[in-house]
Symmetry: C2
C-alpha cells in the first residue's frame, strides 16, 4: 500500500547532557517518513520556509520518499528548541517558532487522494479532519496529538477520533486526555471515546496497545546509549504504520509485530541527534534487533 | 528445596489517594514469605516486639510458613509510616521507628543452617554477611538492599555482593549504586561489581535482568487498580526465589519464568493494602495471570 503522512518538517536546536546541536533536521513528518520508508512507499505533506536547506529534501528523495507535497512557502521554517536532562523521558521546550507552520493548510494533491494509509501527525485536529476528508476511503487511519490540542481543541479532537483506527499518544497525554492516572484505565477510557485502538507510548518504559478486541504490552528495546530522544514517538509511529502498510492487513499478530518494529525504529532514532542514526541504519540492523528483542523478552 | 528469609516484620501505616490504613501487617520478610509460600517451604528469621499481634504469626503458620525463627523481643515492633501520591512508584517516608529491629542480630537456628536457598532482605550488609556465614553452602543466595546502605555502607555491601547469585534492587537504587543514569549501563556496572546477576525492579514499568550470560526484560503485569504498592518489591522477590527454589535449578529459562511469576505475585500484592490480596490469591489465580501475561506480551 502507500502511506500519506501529514505533519511538520522542522529545524531543531537541542541540548542534552551529551551535547548540543543547532538547526538540525527535525519534525514529525520527517522522523515518521524516514522510519516508514524502511517498510513501504511514503508521501509527505508538509510546509517549510525558503530558508530550508535543500540537502534535506534531496536526502528524503534519495530514500524514495515522495516530497512533492512539501510546500516551500515564503517565510522561515518551523523551529523548535528543546532541552533534555538525564531523565530523557521529559522534553523541556525552550522556544517554539511556528513560522510558516502557523499557516499550514494542507491540500492533498489529486494524485495522493487514493492513499490507502494515512498518518496524521500532531497538528490541529480540525486540520487532521480536513485532510481526512480529502482522501478517498483510506484503509488505515492513524493519528497523533499533543497536550496543546487536548487542552484547547478537545471537542474537535474527540469528534475526529471517531474516524481513527489507531490513536497514538504518550503517557502524559493519555492521562490528560482521559483524566485517569492509571494507564490501563486511561487506555480503556480513550478507546471508549472513539478510536478503534490506542497506543500509549511510554518512552523508555515501552508501550501499551489497547483495543476492544485485545491488549498488548511491550517494554522498550533496552539501550545503553540514548543521546537525543527527539522524534522517537514519530519514528515509532513510522515503524508501526510502515509495517502495517507493508503487511497490507491489520490483525492482532500484525499489530503486535508492527509495534515491535516501531519500538526498534525508535531505538535507532535516539542513538544520535536528528535522523543521523536512522540514516545509517540498514534493514539487516533492524532484523537483528527484532531477533534480539524476541530473545530479550521471551519466556 | 527450602527457603530461609531474613528481614523485617513490621506494622505499617499507609496513606494513599485511595485510603489510609493504620498499623497493618508489613515488612520485607512478611511479603517475601507469603509470596514464596505459594511455591515452596519458607522459614522466616525476624524480630518483633511484645506488642506484635499474635494473629499475624498464626496466619503465617497456617500458610505453612515456619515462624520459629521470629524472635519476640522486649520492646515495640518496627513501624513504618508512608504516603503515596498518584505516582505510586515513589514512596514518601513519613516516619520510621526501628524499635526492636534496631538491635536485630539474626542467629540462624541449627535446624535451618542447611537451607538451600537464602534470601537476605534489605538489612545492614554486615548482617547479611553474618547470616550467610551461618548457613552451610546454600545453593542460591539472593539479596535486596536500599539507598541507606548504599550511602552509608557501600564498602560492606560491595564486599558482600561477591557472594551473591541474584542482587535485586530498584531503579533509583541501581542508579545510585552504579553512578549510571542509564539502567542498562547500571545493570552492567553492578554485575561487574560482584553479584552473578542483577534484577532491577522498575515498579509499574517492569524489570531488567542482567547477567554475564544473558539479559531479560519484561513489562509489569498491567493493572487497572493499584491501591498500595508497599511490599511489591519483596513480593516480587518471593515469587522469583520461590519459583527458583521449587524448580530446584537455575538456568536461563527458569530465571525468566521466575521473574514472570515474581511480577504476577507483585501484581496481586498492590491490589489491596498489606497482604490482604495475597491472602485471597489462589494458585489458579496465579496460573491464570501467567497465561494472560503470555498472551499480553507475545509477538
Amino acid at each position: 500500500m502507500s502511506i500519506l503522512v501529514v505533519g511538520s518538517v522542522a529545524l531543531d536546536s537541542i541540548e542534552t547532557p551529551f551535547g548540543n546541536r543547532k538547526e538540525i533536521l527535525g519534525g514529525s513528518a520527517t522522523f515518521f517518513s524516514i522510519s516508514a520508508s524502511f517498510f513501504d512507499k511514503v508521501n509527505i505533506i508538509a510546509t517549510v520556509g525558503e530558508d530550508f536547506p535543500k540537502k534535506h529534501l534531496r536526502m528524503l528523495k534519495n530514500r524514495g520518499i515522495d516530497t512533492s507535497g512539501v510546500a516551500i512557502n515564503k517565510g522561515k521554517t518551523f523551529r523548535w528548541e528543546g532541552r533534555y536532562e538525564y531523565d530523557m523521558n521529559v522534553a523541556h521546550t525552550l522556544a517554539t517558532h511556528l513560522n510558516v507552520f502557523q499557516d499550514f493548510a494542507p491540500e492533498i494533491p489529486h494524485a495522493l487522494r487514493n492513499s490507502s494509509v494515512l498518518f496524521l501527525a500532531n497538528i490541529d485536529p480540525d486540520l487532521q479532519d480536513r485532510v481526512l476528508r480529502q482522501v478517498n476511503k483510506p484503509k488505515l487511519i492513524a493519528c497523533d496529538s499533543m497536550n496543546h490540542w487536548i487542552t484547547n481543541k478537545k471537542q474537535s479532537l474527540e469528534k475526529f477520533l471517531h474516524k481513527v483506527d489507531i490513536f497514538l499518544l504518550n503517557d502524559a497525554e493519555a492521562r490528560q486526555f482521559s483524566g485517569e492516572s492509571n494507564l490501563m484505565k486511561a487506555a480503556k477510557a480513550i478507546t471508549s471515546m472513539g478510536p478503534k485502538s490506542v497506543v500509549i507510548k511510554k518512552g523508555e518504559h515501552g508501550v501499551i496497545y489497547y483495543s476492544k478486541k485485545g491488549h498488548f504490552v511491550a517494554p522498550a528495546y533496552p539501550l545503553e546509549n540514548v543521546y537525543d530522544p527527539t522524534g522517537a514517538g514519530d519514528t515509532f509511529a513510522g515503524g508501526v504504520i510502515g509495517y502495517l502498510s507493508r503487511a497490507g492487513k491489520m490483525n492482532d499478530a500484525v499489530i503486535r509485530k508492527g509495534i515491535i518494529y516501531g519500538s526498534i525504529m525508535a531505538s535507532f532514532a535516539v542513538e544520535d541527534f536528528s535522523v543521523n542514526r536512522l540514516l545509517n541504519t540498514k534493514l539487516s540492523d533492524i532484523n537483528k534487533r527484532y531477533s534480539d528483542f524476541k530473545k530479550l523478552t521471551h519466556f
